[in-house]
Amino acid sequence: MEVFQQLINGLSLGSIYALIALGYTMVYGIIQLINFAHGDVLMVGAFVGWFSMTTLHMNVFAALVTAMAACAMLGVIIERVAYKPLRNSTRIAALITAIGVSLFLEYVMMYFVGANPKAYPDLTGFMAGSFTIHGVIIKNIQLVIIGISVLLMIILQFIVQRTRVGKAMRAVSQDADAARLMGINVDNTISITFAIGSALAGAAGVMWGLYYISINPLMGLMPGLKAFVAAVFGGIGLIPGALLGAYAVGFIETIAKGVGLSTYSDAVVFLVLILILIIKPAGLLGKNTKEKV
């Protein structure tokens, strides 16, 4: 039964990683930038959700939507202010800027809320409950996290595959100049990509808070790094790759914890990443091209 217990834990953790990894991979797909501030967008989302629930007394879902909207705006501002001016400079310059944005978000948040952790309010009603099937404990909050994540992924898939904006996003990520010749406004399309990716990170931040209770201004670092690993793992720039990679990382992490390697679970994740990248340098679903990380 232990295996099934880790499976359900891995599924909920993987769902959160998946939402974060999607943002990484979409941004990379469209402007070939590793947005190292992405984990901090998650942190801002977690705090917006916390503020909405405690000070503004919103319910969980209203707080989730508020955090997503706030992060979407934040993502667009970050892109316009920090990354757009560097679009034609070297990739290393953009990467360093991303690290700068990351530190900026962390310490501005620390200025406002302090360095001490804050606690998400206690879950109430259905979400506080749990049940047991054959000895496997399933918390309702885990089901909520998995459900919301899957719903957001379906919505994302619909946007990317079926809508005008989604087609523009795919066109720009394949060939920006050809997209311009179709009449696509490349700058706006990049902004929309940041908005969607950041909104997903905001949702992940709120769910992180609901699941782990404690949040702080530096909390974005580890989930951000792991989701980045997940995106590379699956093949960066590819949406299905990000999902596959995120669930793989979630499972590896929970299994490592389950077999008594709690202290080393992060190390195990990175070890598996290294092994995979030695065998498949472009990630699980990636094709080998000279342009990859």
Partner: protein, 233 residues
């Protein structure tokens, strides 16, 4: 209809266009021929807005659009079939065609899609296939069909015959003539000077960033210099 005046374009330190001027009138096929690296593609890229000139201007219907973004020029009726086709290889033929009509918000596309499928029956058979799975000739047809979906007034074509088998080249040039006959003005960049001069009404010849000869296409074909330099005779 389309006019460029004294265009200067630089790539870093390289002076790619040196005062290029040309004019395309309503209903014409005008061709721009010349050797590799003469600046033909750069001229087209500057007209479509992918490359910004350091001096000079681009005018459509007398209106200066030199500073207009490439995407907005599509709305004016400028459409480009780029060099190397540049189709979206991991999108379906249908999606490629829909993207061609990206600027035309709303409205029914089925009539235009049918028009493209009539002109290029092979695309109809392959509409659900990914662009990258098409052959070179089919990709060229897709690039042309995609550009036509924008309902352009002026079609800019960059080396449509490049890398194609002779039989296909013949077919592509017939289609170019037909598109023009149906009312679209065309500026055609070609290395296949022979074919280009046959289909065009007027021609400009480029050498190292300058236009060196211009005139009636049929007349130019008879000129000794042109024969020697570009027609292999």
């Amino acid at each position: 209809m389309l006019e460029i005046k004294d265009l200067d374009v630089h790539y870093g330190g390289i002076h790619a266009l040196k005062g290029v001027s040309l004019k395309v009138d309503d209903g014409e096929i005008v061709t721009l021929i010349g050797a590799n690296g003469a600046g033909k593609s750069t001229t087209l890229r500057t007209i479509s807005g992918l490359k910004k000139p350091t001096a000079g201007s681009v005018l459509v219907d007398g209106k200066d659009i030199t500073k207009m973004a490439a995407a907005d020029r599509v709305g004016l009726g400028l459409s480009q079939v780029p060099e190397g086709r540049r189709i979206f290889t991991s999108m379906t033929v249908m999606e490629n065609l829909e993207l061609g009509a990206y600027r035309r918000r709303g409205g029914d596309l089925s009539k235009d899609l049918n028009g493209v499928f009539e002109r290029f029956p092979v695309l109809a058979d392959r509409r659900k296939q990914l662009g990258g799975t098409l052959s070179g000739g089919e990709q060229q047809m897709l690039a042309m069909g995609r550009a036509m979906m924008a309902k352009p007034r002026i079609l800019l074509m960059d080396e449509p015959s490049m890398g194609l088998a002779p039989l296909l080249v013949q077919e592509i040039f017939e289609i170019i003539a037909q598109i023009n006959k149906d009312g679209t003005t065309i500026l055609l960049v070609e290395q296949n000077a022979n074919k280009a001069l046959q289909v065009a009404k007027r021609a400009y010849v480029m050498e190292t960033g300058r236009i060196v000869i211009s005139g009636d296409a049929a007349e130019l074909m008879k000129t000794e210099d042109i024969k020697k330099a570009y027609l292999g005779g």
